[in-house]
Symmetry: D3
C-alpha cells in the first residue's frame, strides 16, 4: 500500500466539506468503490473544485464524434508527455475500461506511435500532443491532417480542449504531488473488468 500523503497541501475531512462537494464525492465513491484522490486534493479549494469538475464533465462526459475511449487516450498520451503520474495511472485505468484493452493505456502513455490504435487515432494524438507540448506552432497543416481523417471542427475543438484542460490538470497534480490511489494500478487489467465499462 502506498501510504504517502495524498497531497502536499491539506486534505479536508469529508465531514467538513460543503454539501455539494460531499455529494459529488459520495456519488463517485458509490460508483467506483473508492474516492479518487483528485477529489480530495482539490476539495481544499471548493470553488476551484467546482469549476474543475464542471469543466472536466463538459469535455469528457459529452456526446460527440470522439468515443469515451478516445477522449481518455488523449488524456493518457498528453499526461505521459507531461510526466504526470496521477493522470497516467488514474486515466490509464479509465482508458483500459472504456477501450476494453488492458494494454493500450501503457502504450499511449509511453509512445503512441507504437500503440494498438487506428491511423485516425494516431492523427488525433499527434494533434493533441502538439497542443500539449508546442501549441504556439499549431498551423493550418495540423488542422488539415485531422480533417483528412474525417474529424470535423467540433471534434478538433474537443481534441484540443481536452489536451489543454489536462495541461492544467497535469500541472496541478505535479504541484500537489497528488498520489494515485492504489486501486487504479490494476483496474481494467483483468478479464473480469470488462463488465465494468
Amino acid at each position: 500500500m502506498d501510504d504517502r500523503p495524498i497531497s502536499r497541501f491539506p486534505v479536508p475531512a469529508l465531514a467538513h466539506l460543503p454539501e455539494d462537494l460531499r455529494a459529488r464525492i459520495l456519488a463517485v465513491q458509490e460508483k467506483a468503490g473508492f474516492v479518487p484522490n483528485v477529489f480530495l486534493t482539490l476539495a481544499h479549494r471548493p470553488d476551484e473544485f467546482r469549476a474543475f469538475f464542471a469543466y472536466h464533465d463538459a469535455l469528457m462526459e459529452k456526446e460527440g464524434g470522439l468515443s469515451k475511449a478516445e477522449r481518455e487516450m488523449i488524456v493518457v498520451a498528453t499526461s505521459g508527455a507531461n510526466d504526470c503520474l496521477y493522470c497516467v495511472v488514474a486515466h490509464g485505468a479509465i482508458l483500459r475500461i472504456h477501450a476494453k484493452n488492458p494494454r493500450v493505456a501503457d502504450q499511449v502513455a509511453v509512445n503512441h506511435r507504437k500503440a494498438e490504435i487506428t491511423p485516425r487515432q494516431k492523427a488525433m494524438l499527434d494533434f493533441a500532443l502538439k497542443v500539449a507540448v508546442d501549441s504556439a506552432s499549431l498551423d493550418d497543416a495540423d488542422f488539415e491532417a485531422l480533417r483528412a481523417q474525417g474529424f470535423g471542427d467540433e471534434d478538433i475543438w474537443d481534441i484540443g480542449a481536452i489536451a489543454a484542460f489536462f495541461g492544467m490538470s497535469n500541472r496541478l497534480a505535479n504541484l500537489t504531488s497528488m498520489r494515485p490511489n492504489d486501486e487504479f494500478y490494476l483496474l481494467g487489467r483483468l478479464p473480469r473488468d470488462k463488465s465494468r465499462s
Copy 2:
C-alpha cells in the same frame, strides 16, 4: 485595425447566447468599454465558458497573499513562455493597470529576470515558470525558495494554480488563434490610465 477573425471556430452572435453568458458579456463590456475576444471565442461552448470563467474568477478575483498585480504578473510571464499572443497582450494590459507601471508587462513577458520587480516577485515567477514549462521536476527546493520569501502554503497554491490555469488558457488561445482586441495593446500605457485601476 486588426480585422482578422476572432477565432478559427464559429463565434456566436450575442443574441443567440444563453442568458447567463450574455449577462456576463454585457457586464464586461459595460466595465471595459469593449468585449474581450476570449468571451466571444469561448461562448461557442457555453458549458466550457461557464467553467472557464468560474475557475478564472476563483483564482484571479480572490483575496489572499498575492496582489492583483502579482497574479497578473504570473499570467503574463507564463503566457510569454508559452508564446500565447492573446494572453500576453490582454493580461499585459491588465497588469499595467494594476501595477500602475506601463513597462512591467513587456518586461515580464520577455524576460522576468530583467523586470522592475522585487526579489520576492522574481522568486514567485521562477516558481510559476517551472510549473508552466517543467512541472514534473518540481521538488522540495522549489517550495523552500518560496517560503524563504515569506510565501505561505495558500500563496504557493495560488501561484501554481494560476500558472496551471493559464497553461490551459494559453493552449486554448493557440488552438483557436484567438485574436487580441485592438484596445488591449494601448491600455495602461498612458498616465491617464492610472485612474482605471
Copy 3:
C-alpha cells in the same frame, strides 16, 4: 491480444536458430512460461544476440551493491525517459516482481520523483537519468551525490553502465518497433505474483 508483428525485421523460426540461441530461448520459456519478444527479435542476428545477452547478464545478473530491484528500477526509469515501450513494459514487470510492489514500475517510468523509493534510490535514478539523457554534462558533483548516499565506485559503474546498456537497448527496440508480449502487462500486479520473485 496484440497481434501486430513482433518486429519490423524478419523473426526467425526457432527451428532454424543456432543451437546456443535455441537453448537460451527454451530455457527462458521454461522459466517465464513464454518467450519474451526481445529474444526473437534479436535472434535475427545471432552474433549480436550473443553479445547483447552476455552484456545484459554481466550487468543484471551479477552480485553487488545494487539489489535486483534497484537494477530494474534503473532500466525502467531510463526506458521511460527514452520513450521505449518494450523496455518499460517488460522490465516494468520484472521490477514489480523483484520489488514485490505492484505500483513502483509505473511510478518510476512516469516520474521517479513521485515514486515510492528511498532517497538513496532517488539519487541513483537521478544519476542514471543524467547518463541516459545528458551524459556529456556528468561531472564530479554527480559522483559526489552518489557517494553521499553510500554508493561505492563499483556501484557507480553499475548504475552508469546499466543506464548506458539500456540506452542501446531502447534504441534497438524503437528501431525494430519491438512489441511487448501481452504477458508482461499484468505480471507482478497481483498478490499471487509475489510467489514468483
Copy 4:
C-alpha cells in the same frame, strides 16, 4: 520611471567619449529626442561601438528588397526568440513606426504565426528564426521556401545576416542587462506617431 542602471558595466560620461562617438550619440539624440541606452552601454568600448554601428547601418540602413519595416520585423521576431528585453522593446518601437501599425511588434515578438503580416513576411520570419535558433540545420529547402515567395539571393543574405547580427546584439544586451529607455515602450503606439515615420 525605470531608474535601474543602464548596464552591468561602467557607462562613460558623454564628455569623456571620443569625438566620433559623441557626434553619433548627439545626432541620435537630436533625431529621437533621447539617447537609446545601447549607445551608452557600448560606448564603454569605443572600437566595438564603431564596428557594431557600422555593421548595424550596413544591414539596416541600406536599400534593397526588404522594406525598413520588414528588417525591423526580423529584429523583433528573433529578439523575442532570444528573450532579449532591450531589443524587443527598442526595435518594437521602431517597427511600429515604420510599419505604421501599433500592434505588429507585440505580435511578432510573441508569435509571428499569429501576426498581421503577409505570407511572404511569414516565410521571411520562418527563415530568420531558423537562423536564430537552429542555423546548423539550414538546408536547400529553406532557401527554396524563400525563393518561392519571390526573395532573391541578396534578400536572403539580408534576412540571414540581420538575424545573425541581432543574435550577437541580443547576447550583448543580455550580458550587460541593458535597460530599455522608458521612451521606447510607448513610441509608435499612438495615432500621432504616424507622422514620425
Copy 5:
C-alpha cells in the same frame, strides 16, 4: 602529452588481466602501435569487456552493404551529437584512414549537412542521428527515406544498430571520462597515412 588519468575508475595492469583480454589487447597494440584507452578502461570489468568487443566486432567488422568508412561515419556523427570526446577522436582517426580523407571526420562530427559525403551517406546519417537523439519518433517515413537511397533492410538494421551501440559506448566514455590516446588526434591526417587503410 595528455597525462591525465585514462579513466575515472581503476585501470588494471596488463599482467593482471585474464588471458583472453591480454591477448586481444596485445593484438591491437601489434596492429595499431599503441593500446587504445577503451581497451584499458573496459578491462576493469572483464565480462563487460568481452561482451562489448564481441558486439562491436559483430557490427563493425562484418561484410555488408555499408563500407567500413560508412560504418565509422555513423560512429563519428552520432558521437558528435552525444558530445563524446573519446569516440569522436578515436573513431575520427579510423574514419579518416578508411575514407582516405583527412577532413571528413571533423566535418561529420560537427555537422554532417556540411560534409563531403554523398546524398546516400547524408540520408544514412540523418537516420543514424534520429536513432541517436530521438529514436521514439522513428516512423515509416524514415525507413522509406533510406530505401529511396537503395538501402535494404539489413543495411537499415546495421545503421540503426551501430547508432544504438555507440549510444551505449558514448555514455560509457562520458561516465568514465575516458581519455583519447594522443596518437588518435593525428592519425589519418597526413598523406603517408593512406598506406594504413
Copy 6:
C-alpha cells in the same frame, strides 16, 4: 581536396574588390600562406566585411586579461555548441597554434568538460557557453563564478562579447555554407607548427 563552392553566395574576384579589402586579404595571404574563405565569402558585401573584421580585431587582437589561446578557446567551444563547421575547423587551427597543444581544439569543440584546461579556463568556457546557448538566463551567480576565478569586469565583457560575436559569425557561416580551407585541418597538429605561434 575539398572542391565544393566556398559559399552559397557569389564570391568576388580579388581584382574586383575595393582596395582596402584587397589589401587586407593580401596581407592575410602573406602571413598565412593562403586566404581563409571567410574573407572571400564576406567580401561579397564590402561594408559588412569592414565592420565584421573591425569588430573581430577589436575583440581578438587586443591586449587584456585573456591570452590569445583563451580567446580562441571561447571561439572553438561556442562554435562547437552552434555546430559551425567553418569556425570549429579554422579557429581550431588558430587555437592549436596559440596554445601549442595539438589536442585542445578537438577537446573543447566536443566537450570542454573533458579538455586539458585549467579550472579557470573551464569557468570561462562555462560562462561563454551560457552566453552562446542561453543568454537570457545569465544572472549574478554566473558573474560571481567568474570573479571567484580572478576574472575582472573587463575580462568578463571580453568573454561575453567574444561568445556573442561568434554567435553572429557561426550563423553567417551556416547561412553561407562557408567551406573551411583544406589547410586549416592540419595546422598546428605537427611539432613543427610550434614555430608558428
